[in-house]
Symmetry: D2
Subunit: 328 residues, 4 copies
């Protein structure tokens, strides 16, 4: 269940509600959102409509705060001067990894010239092998901050270690949770302690419900700014592409949650030839944004080169999705 | 490898080519297509360019006749007065099962009024349980033929038993191979003996290569009129929809084969709410057509009612995919 | 529901029961088994316990005749002089394909010398590619019959085409339905018309319930002699073996059905190194038999050579599973 | 590649080898194991056999230190007074979660009475929902240590957060990485810094190669004491059990790596009825141990009650696997 307090409810009124819930041996979770206190309760109970309560919602799904029932009107998330969700589409693009200051700056310039407003670039790299390039680390965070200051582009990067959340949130505008860490609950809780928007990628074999519950971890820890990202699931088809883009997840998610839903066609594809058709499908199916890999010189990329678009291909992608946007 | 004979090559020239191949202990497969003889050879060999040979193609893939390399320009398949493929989009819609003459006629009228040109309706039903409705059988074929005569709609139905191929091909305009029978090779060979266009649905756990090899069975048995159909694959996600629509299969197939590729969003979805967004995604990703379930009264359908569109929803679907078509 | 008639129930008593069921607009399915008539009814209804009825079972599962509830004591199937199920273990081995009369006879001699009592060998081959060896066909059936006459070995082969069921049942002792045809319902119904025991292999992406419903097709068409076969399912793990042997399917099936359950470790493995450990696991998990590929000279096999055991490995397999049998 | 230094190689000899490698622009990884220095090199290079080098192994697989080629004789891991691997079987059992001091002590007594030597019990719980019981945390670690002191049982628990690795390693004898964290690389690196044996569970959709690379992270960070654990993978079969136990992974892993391989039948099963047959299959397939959930009163368990064995069932399991052990 969800209890939404009135905007001008005072501390005492809130405490009374919490006490009433605790009396029934259930521990409520209270978060702040748009000036209101929202209380999530796992389970079904009787709640008296005491003073200060705006409304009580009976949400039977295991996910509460992220559920569409809680916020039928949908959520648009603010990222500094930008927005995503509820009709506002956002394209995020950039190299898989931040490799050097020069590569980052060159990427940023290309993105600017194409009208892209947010640059992605990983500085902490989750690699299957311990012998692969593990990313630039903290130094990379500084470069990203510097890119924003110099170009005005917002910057986005992945965070993997709970100990990096705070510093990363001070350097970039969007934090990303990779597919491998979707159920790294300590990381999710730590991300709940900052207010930086978080892109939460679906695990390669996570069900849609598990994705929503992972998002619920972040919200119930205090950060309402979560963007969900479908990036392909693992199936028996391992030859034609890296993962199977679950296009049906977009309309399913849009019905179940009020959070924005974006698509990463690059990791699903695993090769750049599929990125444009997958992007078009995602837009037509109603995605609120795309997260696309582009590299100034893909053949020399330190990671994921085969799936990174050439700059001219990103330009083509932008041209091709534009007419679809109003129909998605 | 593929040997394409010239249009005016005579019997003797053909026999010489075949004899040369057999000398190397490989059995060639010869089919007729657009007035030419096409010879498929499994394996690599030296072929002398004797008289009557137009060209020799070195196709290393296990599928030969269906490969895009064999026919880079793509194929458009004629279905009586209609066409599909190579830029021509075709919408096929109708009830899951043909239930009664009245239900069929009512469906046909709705389709006509919406501008749909081909009606689907199964008369042989592959049902998981032997106790479920197994279809109207031969009587249903007669009704379908009658529908065409009375309305001008072309008609499409599934065939499951080798013994029904001939009679079915005499009654309907398109034969369908269901997902469960994609690797029923005797059925595929029998379908190679007629010229009726065949929609070949991908098995729920068939790889893309297996689908193409199944199509190769039909072509190498003599019928070049094959339309491939993606209809969702079986994955771990079993709660949100019936099968996972493999949207990436569309661009992958379009690159590998010259055959038209359509999508059945209804069976992938398993519920009607997802049919429109999946259809839009399919069109945007480049599908040549859709195969959609619509029932005059879905709540009373004898099979697959939950995934059948209401007539007004089919109308909405048509409206929503129209602006996407030129951009797919 | 299931109605079991008494052994000495007469025609009139049976007709009364059937009429009573039909009055409620449900079509009953009646089969003969061990001298009794068994009536399967899909759905729940009131049945009056008229004369001639031994018992009425309320089986809510979608599969009725195959359900363990219908026959808690389990079924042992007679195959000429042999038996399988209910504590009697049966090893079936032999080459993937019957290639020549000599290869078949050599295989048979090896099997005899190792104490194996049933030889497998496919004469109709379901191959992914139309250009691969398709089997010896009818001529192969004659060779198999001849093998039995000369060696006393029982013989087993796959049948794919409804038109081959009758002749195949006249030549061999066990018919096999391959994984690709598990849901080829016309084939299943045709197999219900003979009494030859049938090994029904699970489709590579069939659920356990779908396997049981496929078996229900055969039983409800009149043939109670069905042996289920787990042979690996298709998963994301495509590098280490061909299919993932679903070892858990054995205890699950044993609880749900009274039919014998065997395992084909060869097709699951796809390489011979795994066949022995998988066989041991199957026996320990309670399998009633094994279906194993052995070839006199695997490196020269026309199909599936890599997964065929060398004769000495089959001998080792037999030695290694023996001590496990009493503990399975 | 792998360079094994001699036991009495001195610092200067080691430095020369490392310098020679670095000259070729590759960063070597050096770890200590059984008194020797082992150097792992990713990639292929020329290495001069300078003084102090015992042997140079050309290992082409992406995993080096964990590969069977590196240590064909296999590894037996010491856990205080116990051992696992290389013929020594170890049974670990206990409740899913540590709930209270009393529940832990009661579990320990039951285990002692059954001859079990290691108790499992999670104090940090990775739960899909943020509203589920998250474990006792640090207080639970103290209880576990206390249990060991009072009963002599060794104790095992899961660790999820990098910040808990050190303290957990001071309190328990074996640390466990859960399936959700198999690719939480920062956690794996942190576990490389302690010497406590680590059970690394396979992710529900991790390939066997990915599991080995995850283990390589721990070894290459300095901890050679890794035990691999197969616990079921996610497939389309979601009704009959929780996950599909990949029994074939056992022989595949035994061939690819020298590390011990155990099986968790409880999480694969998801219900206690399957735990015994899966355990028997695992032993027969060659597993080096089992990790089984048992609860003094499963119906009252705070997590995973349905899959926890009753004490009498654990006793039965022990009886039933005993005769299989010598044949596994």
């Amino acid at each position: 269940m969800i209890v939404v307090m009135e905007k001008d409810a005072d501390r005492q009124e809130l405490d009374e509600v919490l006490a009433n819930i605790r009396k029934q041996n259930i521990e409520p979770v209270a978060i702040e959102e748009e000036g209101k206190t929202i209380i999530a309760i796992n389970g079904k109970m009787e709640i008296e409509k005491t003073k200060g309560i705006e409304k009580i919602l009976d949400i039977s799904k295991p996910f509460k705060l992220v559920s569409r029932e809680r916020k039928p009107e949908g959520t648009s998330i603010k990222i500094r001067n930008l927005e995503i969700g509820n009709g506002t589409f956002l394209l995020i693009a950039g190299p898989c990894s931040l490799e050097t200051r020069d590569q980052a700056m060159e990427s940023a310039k290309i993105l600017k010239s194409l009208g892209v407003k947010v640059m992605r670039a990983s500085v902490f790299k989750p690699r299957s092998s311990p012998y692969s390039f593990q990313g630039m680390g903290i130094e990379g965070l500084r470069i990203l901050k510097n890119i924003r200051e110099m170009t005005g582009l917002l910057v986005e990067t992945e965070v993997m270690d709970v100990r990096d959340v705070k510093i990363a949130s001070e350097h970039v505008d969007i934090l990303r949770v990779g597919a491998r860490n979707m159920q790294n609950y300590d990381l999710l809780k730590e991300l709940g302690k900052v207010k930086t928007p978080v892109i939460l990628k679906r695990g390669i074999s996570a069900t849609i419900e598990e994705l929503l519950l992972a998002a619920e971890y972040i919200l119930s820890s205090g950060n309402p700014n979560v963007i969900l990202c479908e990036r392909g699931i693992r199936t028996f088809e391992t030859k034609s592409y890296r993962n199977t883009l679950d296009i049906g997840a977009i309309p399913v998610l849009k019905r179940l949650t009020h959070l924005p839903v974006i698509v990463d066609p690059s990791h699903a594809a695993g090769n750049r030839e599929l990125v444009i058709p997958l992007s078009k499908a995602a837009v037509a199916a109603g995605a609120d944004g795309l997260l696309v890999e582009m590299h100034p010189d893909p053949d020399k990329a330190w990671s994921d080169g085969e799936q990174s678009l050439f700059p001219r291909q990103l330009s083509q992608l932008i041209d091709e999705i534009k007419p679809l946007m109003q129909h998605g």
